[in-house]
């Protein structure tokens, strides 16, 4: 069955430091993968999405992600974190039949 695993429930990073959030997927066939961010008391906003092709995907606000078929991974990265990046980040795979399957989310806290 299709699934998404985000092994880190919470990550704390210093402002200006780099960030990597891990995502592993299980999917039969060609996966379409997404990273969303949820700020407090708000809905989800798309950061980036992967279509088959270039494995490195550029997103908004300096985020990028790298797809690896061999590792079944779609990790999110940012070179220099800002305090406004404090949020919950969700990795998702399109299930087919239209629904998205979400990981459990990773909360990113930014320390000064």
């Amino acid at each position: 069955a299709q699934s998404v695993t985000q092994p880190d429930a919470r990550v704390t990073v210093s402002e200006g430091a780099s960030l990597q959030l891990r995502c592993k997927y299980s999917y039969f066939g060609t996966p379409y993968l997404f990273w969303y961010v949820q700020y407090p008391r708000q809905g989800l906003q798309l950061l980036l999405k992967y279509y088959p092709g270039d494995p490195v995907v550029q997103g908004v606000n300096g985020f990028e992600a790298e797809f690896s078929k061999s590792n079944s991974s779609f990790h999110l990265r940012k070179a220099s974190v800002h305090w406004s990046d404090w949020a919950v980040y969700f990795c998702a795979v399109h299930q087919g039949g239209r629904a998205l399957i979400f990981g459990t989310g990773t909360t990113v806290s930014v320390s000064p």
């Binding site: 809905g43 239209r98 629904a99």
Partner: protein
């Protein structure tokens, strides 16, 4: 402004009451969704709907039902709420519902059942 709008932002009710949440999208999309986000922030699909087909997650209790007047609106009715229905309900829309489509989310309706 083009976006996904949800009302109310917040609703408190008692066990056994009926509630209805509204969702409207002005993006011109054909497909709309309802997701439930529980207290641990876990997100699960409840329904997806376009003018041709309703797809229901089989784990959704029958007291939940989607209601659509046109492709820009998809409301959610809960006939007799239970304490476990306390959650944030997120509405979303996408252009066609295909694998490649981005889903755009509303801000959510937070339900508290006493």
């Amino acid at each position: 402004e083009t976006a996904v709008f949800q009302t109310p932002n917040y609703h408190v009710t008692q066990v056994g009451n009926e509630v209805s949440f509204n969702c409207k999208q002005t993006l011109g999309h054909d497909t709309m969704y309802w997701y439930k986000q529980d207290s641990k922030k876990l997100l699960k699909i409840m329904f997806s709907y376009n003018n041709k087909q309703l797809i229901v997650n089989e784990t959704v209790p029958r007291r939940f039902s989607p209601q659509s007047s046109d492709k820009a609106h998809l409301n959610l009715r809960i006939k007799s709420v239970e304490p476990e229905d306390s959650a944030v309900y997120l509405c979303a829309s996408s252009r066609t519902g295909g694998n490649q489509d981005t889903q755009y989310f509303g801000p959510g309706t937070r339900l508290l059942v006493l």
